[in-house]
Symmetry: C2
Subunit: 339 residues, 2 copies
């Protein structure tokens, strides 16, 4: 695998293969399966689905695009698998002032997921897997509670679906853990974790139960650039030697506190500070203001980015330290004062 | 794009985008399209299809896998788009002794393609594109006549489908032309040509009419390894300087003549020599014999490969010369004598 999109595509295939093996048992394929699959038809190509979330982003090839739902321009005019799409929690901020509403939001979203799983089973396209980002990145840096992710895993287990956490954006350290889902106190590890970007090359971990019994079922003759593994080894060594995850936690705390303080100073301009480690975001009160802030930050030498409709996202490198955070917060304050 | 699979996936997207624009005209998307596509539903995600061929291979991600039909192990258990699959011509050899039968085979296959296009239009999943390899490689090194490819292009034009030639295996010189389809005397260039492998990185050419009018519709944030372009530039420079395509033609002629002579010497063992340039193949009379020949060639220092059910395929480098062909033919004769 190379990019995040390929990683998810291959993870889906692995999920479908494991799902069918659980149904079939360890017996050979039927002749009907072998023949029908060559013509794109069931039973060889079964009608299975992957459940995903509105505002999620998992790639742009035709399989992964069927689980991407952040912007219409990514999807319009392109045929899609008819796979179920659930709402991802939309929290009110600050979190500690909206505990009840946000908890209701979690439960509403979890109920919808379970309803969709039941509905797609009935319509003959059972949900073989659930894919979710630990923080919806492209879709607006939307975070969800540990309770929500634990609930998702419970539903996946209840209906024999595999639970796939897409760490293409969050993996590699920016949240303060190597994998963001380590925060979630899941009962068991997720069945699949996909990665790319900071990991230099794409791929996925999966539970050993999911290993296909036959060779060459998840395969690509184009082996990408295996030399990137050497680069990755060095990166991981440096992360450990320099305790960069600890640095991310410390810096992230300083950065988040500073953003919350700016929210209090400029409540008419910004709100909803959120995220983990230095993987942080804040909303502007409207899209025009957001774009304006990004431009002014850039003019003062700060490269930041937008996501979702009105969000500013911060993605500093793992070596970003507290005094860098202070420089950024100072410039951000200047920009807000002039807005 | 990186691998052949990604190249085809993105080419499909480009085809769907262009197909819908021809229907819609240069007007904005409707609100219904924008909203429905986020939920994987028409009209935003229209039911369009790509027609492909039995024994074709175009990749293993979920979109390109729906056009791959060479071995069941690639496809079984994986959901597929319900896209049409036509038969690719299966010729009788030697070609000059079976002109009438092979021409009938061409016409039968072309008629089936046209029937499928009409049928899928009727069932509400119009064929937006036809994808074909110039020589079906993974599926058994099956070649087809210029007449067949010209006929395919005519059908594509008649039904407003785009004509995509997948040169992932054949591109880059091994057939004696840089692109194999240069042999076909097509009325106009194909709408899309995809490539990867020898080209160091994946991608595609398309007609200027197909350029999406909006940015970021065919896009990937993971930019692969653009440094490979520098490698590719050097490769192309060497191909030109050393006239390697001429070398492939000369060597290919010597190699093919030699294979035909071996066919005559060992008609009970091998037959059906075919291919262009040094991109050549020959059948063994059964699969066991084929595997046996491959093993014995290897024991004598010749690395060759199998494809299809009983085919030996030759894929020498572009610098393979006539005297190398003679060495190979000599070893192949020794192996056949012992079979």
């Amino acid at each position: 695998m190379m990019c995040g999109s390929c990683s998810n595509e291959n993870a889906f295939k692995n999920i479908f293969i494991a799902y069918q093996r659980r149904l079939r048992g360890d017996i050979d394929f039927t002749l009907e399966e072998k023949i029908s699959c060559l013509m794109n038809q069931p039973p060889g190509c079964p009608k299975l689905s992957i459940l995903s979330f509105l505002n999620g982003f998992h790639g742009r090839t035709l399989g992964s695009l069927s689980t991407t739902h952040s912007k219409y321009i990514h999807k319009i005019d392109v045929p899609s698998f008819d796979w179920p799409v659930a709402h991802f929690p939309q929290y009110k901020y600050p979190l500690d002032e909206h505990e009840r509403e946000n908890s209701d939001e979690d439960n509403k979203c979890l109920e919808e997921v379970e309803d969709l799983v039941v509905q797609y089973e009935k319509k003959g396209a059972p949900v073989a897997g659930i894919i979710v980002e630990p923080i919806q990145s492209e879709g607006g840096d939307n975070e969800a509670s540990n309770y929500f992710f634990q609930g998702l895993q419970k539903i996946a287990k209840k209906y024999n679906a595999y639970f796939l956490i897409d760490e293409v954006q969050t993996g590699g350290g920016p949240t303060g853990k190597f994998w963001c889902h380590e925060y979630f106190n899941l009962e068991t590890p997720p069945d699949v974790v996909t990665f790319s970007k900071k990991m230099q090359l794409g791929g996925y971990f999966h539970s050993s139960e999911m290993t296909p019994r036959q060779p060459f079922r998840v395969f690509n003759t184009w082996m990408g650039d295996p030399g990137k593994l050497i680069v990755l080894e060095s990166i991981i060594r440096i992360i450990k030697e320099q305790k960069l995850l600890d640095n991310v936690v410390t810096t992230g705390h300083r950065l988040k506190s500073g953003l919350l303080q700016l929210e209090n100073e400029f409540p008419h301009l910004i709100n909803s500070t959120r995220g983990r480690g230095t993987f942080l975001a804040i909303n502007a009160t409207n899209e025009k203001l957001r774009d304006d802030i990004l431009k002014r930050l850039k003019a003062k030498g700060v490269q930041s980015g937008g996501c979702g409709a009105q969000t500013i996202r911060l993605r500093p490198a793992l070596i970003f330290q507290e005094h860098h955070a202070d420089i950024f917060l100072d410039i951000f304050r200047q920009v807000l004062k002039q807005s």
